[in-house]
Symmetry: C2
Subunit: 346 residues, 2 copies
DNA sequence: CAACCCGTTGGCATCGATAACATTCTCTGC
DNA sequence: GCAGAGAATGTTATCGATGCCAACGGGTTG
């Protein structure tokens, strides 16, 4: 910054300008603006008037520097267009905003630990007060540990990484709900199209599915694996279409389920008459699949809000390790599931 | 900040600490860190070593305050889970990141001018260098004009608001592509399920559709209106299902198109044999609709990148009003469209 | 009547870095 | 061997707001 005094026109007014205009000290202006109690009503009014007249706005950088608080939180996410990401993010944004915090985003396009570390470090360098890691991390690393030590960080649906994992949907329950539903309908067993192994959610769902089958004493078919895309669901569906025994499938995401359904029909198997399909997420389109998709709804927005609430508490008391919280998924039964053709109903 | 000298342990190292450790002045440290040319190789190495040893990170707030540059841009979006929003945002984020900029998000849940103004002002208060307004604004306002005067702002797909609208998909072309495709297949005319009127995109598509029909000398059926949700598409589809003449529909979004398709089928009309349907967006699931949806793809990510490129140029030269750019949509033909049953083909 | 309390307000140092300016050093070329 | 260009580095003022402390004035209290 230069001491450009000649052409003073273009510099936005500072607190001193306001102070001068209101006939008080800069300190008082600061008090008024931060709602400090001990300020005479008249003074406050004068200051506010001056503020309005000059169109003054507090300089955030200066505030942050001086007070040591940035009033900003950061979010690390994967750069995808998944419904879940959008929904969680929107929950985070609305909660943060309501709490007077600003949200900065750092995205990564890969799941590499180093890529995630970079994103994290971009945020800490920016001086955010806390970070929500909304990435399906599995591995931790020294650098990551170090970064999360410096800034309160919590993880949504990743595994414990030293960054305390705090908010998560009980994925195992989600899988259980889906699998049980199919078994209850009378299916002998349930096949599974899982998500990519590196994703903790995918792993939890797979485990929950397997556990449910085992608990019921059913055979556990080998799980197939997709990459969350509808295309991968389609490929999985083509395989399932060749397996006559497969009358029920639990698909790890709605998007893949769309692909599965299409593949099954192209393979000459009707849904739900020949094969029942359950997805996970309850994306808006699930109800408009043909047939409407039975699925397990996840309270994404709520997760985002919960994460922010936890994070703010964590920021306020960094020594307190936040308690993990988990939100419950909910089964939504639609038309893609039914009793198997040959089953004895009731 | 207090002069807490007793327990110096917990304060992160500053530039002075690094300078001392490296045996140079703070200024030199600054030069090294910002890649200034005139620094001896040895000195640079010493500084870097000290930086590494102390685990030093530059304080962003101080940097911003002192240099007057925040290296951050802001994005205003609607708090939705639409695919388009996610896709545009992800384009913005990746481009901004590549350019060394940070992204701050301010979302609004309503289209009120005042809600948008608030979001905008949250960003300017934060000191971002530029703003991308990715909101379907139609009206402008004095406050908005003022805010956009202070910070370089450009609009994606909103209407001109004083904030120069710069990057947009040629929606009218999108509509023309879809409508022409249906006419070319031999349909007598094309019906239209539009988006909400306040959305500029919706209006442009409607206009493009109408213009195409008029240019071809066809009757222009009254347009129906939805709210982008699949549910509203479903409602529109139920109406269309009752109209025997309706053999072709241009739906303003893929999500609504899913609803339309389902409603049509429930009304006993086959797609595409009885009714052809075209959507817009080319969401990932479009290919897995039953039948796969013909649609007009929009280059969302590219829009985001283009917007950032324009914005950065605008920031660099604020007096230059950025030239509007528009990106082209592309027709993707799938199975939801076909020649009308009775039509004489070829 | 002094000691004291409390609501208000101003003075001053400070946060951590950068810009402009000053200074020292190091080579050239004549 | 010395002037002078230009590289390398240090000094100082500032960016805009906040925190701590002191000061002021009127009302209590012992």
């Amino acid at each position: 910054m230069t001491k450009q005094q000649g052409d003073a026109a273009r510099r936005p007014p500072g607190m001193t300008d306001v102070a001068r205009a209101a006939g008080v000290s800069a300190q008082t202006v600061s008090r008024v603006l931060s709602g400090h109690p001990h300020v005479r009503e008249q003074t406050r009014a004068d200051v506010m008037a001056a503020v309005a007249r000059l169109g003054y706005r507090r300089n955030n950088a200066a505030r942050t520097l001086s007070s040591g608080r940035s009033r900003a939180i950061g979010v690390v996410t994967l750069r995808t267009t998944f419904y879940s990401r959008a929904a969680v993010t929107s929950g985070i944004e609305s909660a943060a905003q309501a709490a007077g915090y600003t949200v900065s985003t750092a995205t990564t396009s890969s799941l590499d630990t180093s890529a995630i570390e970079d994103a994290l470090s971009r945020l800490t360098d920016q001086g955010v007060e806390g970070i929500i890691l909304s990435v399906p991390l599995i591995h931790t690393s020294p650098r990551l540990e170090q970064l999360t030590r410096a800034t309160p960080t919590l993880t949504i649906d990743g595994s414990r990484t030293g960054a305390t994992e705090v908010v998560a949907v009980d994925q195992s329950l989600a899988a259980r709900l889906a699998t049980r539903h199919l078994l209850d309908l009378g299916h002998e067993t349930v096949w599974h199209l899982a998500g990519p192994e590196q994703w903790l959610e995918a792993a939890s769902r797979r485990d929950g599915w397997r556990a449910t089958l085992e608990a019921a004493g059913r055979a556990v078919p080998p799980p197939l694996e997709g990459d969350w895309s509808p295309a991968s669901g389609y490929r999985g569906g083509l395989v399932l279409g060749r397996i006559p025994d497969a009358t029920a499938v639990f698909v790890a995401s709605d998007e893949m389920a769309f692909g599965v359904v299409r593949a099954l029909r192209e393979s000459g198997r009707r849904v739900p008459e020949d094969v029942s399909v359950v997805g996970v997420d309850d994306i808006e389109l699930a109800e408009y699949c043909a047939p409407p998709l039975t699925t397990v709804a996840q309270p994404f927005a709520q997760m985002g809000e919960l994460a922010v609430a936890h994070l703010l508490r964590y920021i306020a008391a960094p020594e307190t390790v936040p308690e993990p919280a988990s939100v419950e998924p909910r089964l939504v039964v639609r038309a893609s599931t039914a009793a198997p053709a040959a089953a004895v109903t009731g």
